[in-house]
């Protein structure tokens, strides 16, 4: 997958292209594979460009980081890691950004189902969470959560 970095570098540096503005970076789970989607804008040609890095494996998704071109992509990559588990090689601060540090699932993956009433039909009831090494505690005070965690160990 290293050629994504080359493509981005060419788009950024080539004097005829000059896609210097990274409009967006996001992860996508298509259900069968992972993708990283970049949106670029060029001040020279005034065009939008969408670059899609397709076909990352769902078991171990890896993509090169573009932080060497846009330092501002760091948080976007952290978000994609947090939500999809996509590892960006070269990002020196790839921590979870929204979820707590001890969280183990990747919420925006398609096999992570919502347990609450925001799921597709209200009558369907509670759906199972993604299989986690410890029972998911869905509600309660932090003390309840801690107690449940301690009990599970």
């Amino acid at each position: 997958m290293a050629h994504v970095a080359d493509v981005m570098r060419t788009l950024h540096d080539d004097p005829g292209l000059r896609f210097e503005l990274l409009a967006d970076l996001c992860g996508v789970d298509t259900g069968t594979a992972m993708e990283v989607v970049y949106h670029l804008w060029s001040a020279g040609t005034r065009d939008w460009l969408r670059v899609v890095a397709t076909g990352l494996s769902r078991e171990d998704p890896r993509a090169p980081s573009v932080t060497f071109l846009w330092r501002g992509a760091e948080w976007a990559e952290r978000e994609a890691y947090d939500m999809f588990g996509i590892v960006f090689e070269g990002n020196r601060d790839l921590r979870r950004i929204y979820m707590p540090p001890d969280y183990r699932s990747f919420p925006l993956r398609k096999d992570f189902l919502l347990p609450d009433d925001a799921s597709r039909s209200p009558g369907e009831g509670v759906r199972p969470m993604e299989a986690a090494p410890e029972p998911a505690v869905l509600a309660g005070t932090p003390a309840d959560v801690r107690r449940a965690r301690e009990a599970s160990r």
Partner: protein
Amino acid sequence: MTSPETKVRSLDDPSVFVDTPATIYDAIPPYPPRTEREAEFYTLREGEMLINIGPQHPSTHGVLRVVLKIDGERIVDLDPVLGYLHRGVEKICENSDWHMVISHCDPLEYIASMFSEYVPVLAAEKLLDVTVPRRAEYIRVLACELNRISSHALFMGWLALDLGGITPILYGFLERDEIVEMLAALTGQRLLFNYMRIGGVNGDLNHEFMSRLGDWMSHALRHIEDSMTLINSNEIFVGRTRGLGRIDRQTALRMCLSGPPLRATGIPYDVRRAHPYSVYPELEFEIPTREEGDSYARYLLHLDEIKQSIHIIDQVLHRLPDGPVMAKLPRLLRPRPGRAWAAIESPRGQYGVYAMSDGTDQPFRLRIHDPSFFNLQAVGLLTPGHLIADIMAIMASLDPIMGGVDK
């Protein structure tokens, strides 16, 4: 590892035992660093200490927590900690139908929610190939520009408040309240409007809105300029913001900034012109820019943008066409399978949505690009070397809204 009676498992990492459960106030994580950057940040040199700001602090404009590494009064480095307001809006949107997306996206940018509900609507319209009636397009522009002014007026007051000036925010709220009341007459809600609809808007302009708007327009520019003379040349305000948090063009692009922080460095990037949507190509307005790129330039830029917005509203009121405000669409929307990127210029910068549809009535993926998230990141670059008190002036001048940052 032994588990003595007095020790409990850490909430952050259950594999370690600590005297007290980890709290949000623990500056140093009880676990080994997970990344290179974290290890570097939490290693203290001689004379350095860590101090925690937030997550509940009035000047963080929401629930942002910042761990500061300081040497005396100077900031050496900082580590923003996000997620205190994370609700998983993107996941919720994937599980709701296209109409419900509008109200879920509403509270993201809660100071200017007209924008955060407009983008998903725009993306859905691209997927559906709907032609929105022209009157609806003009009403959207009108509502958005009004909301932009209210957001900017509040920003200017906030910035002064964070620097210790109590008066300007009262004037900021004065303008904002008039606009908010006006939009309440139009949409029925003061803050979370839920007014945009896929294919148009929810309801035509009404008499109360128009009469309030007419009253306000007759004095808007004069009022805003008057109240801003309070701070524009105030020696303390200028002394504390000029030259503070300076950023140059190349760095601004590398940091993925957009909106006023980017335009304050001299790059005329405004989505309304760069990638026109709605009826903006038909309207005359300038894109104000500044060269200095500091907090003061960002502040002045907001004032210029308010003037341009009033100019746009003036044109919209003169050109408003007759006709319906909603396109004819079925109740249950099933956009064609495909991908669409829609972006608009919100008061904070480029607000984008990347929507994927698989042909069902629910979005397959709805990526929300919030400008606050990217602009806030620049805090880590701008603050080192400044005093602790200046972090507020820098952060406020980037104008992040945590509802959008945390999604």
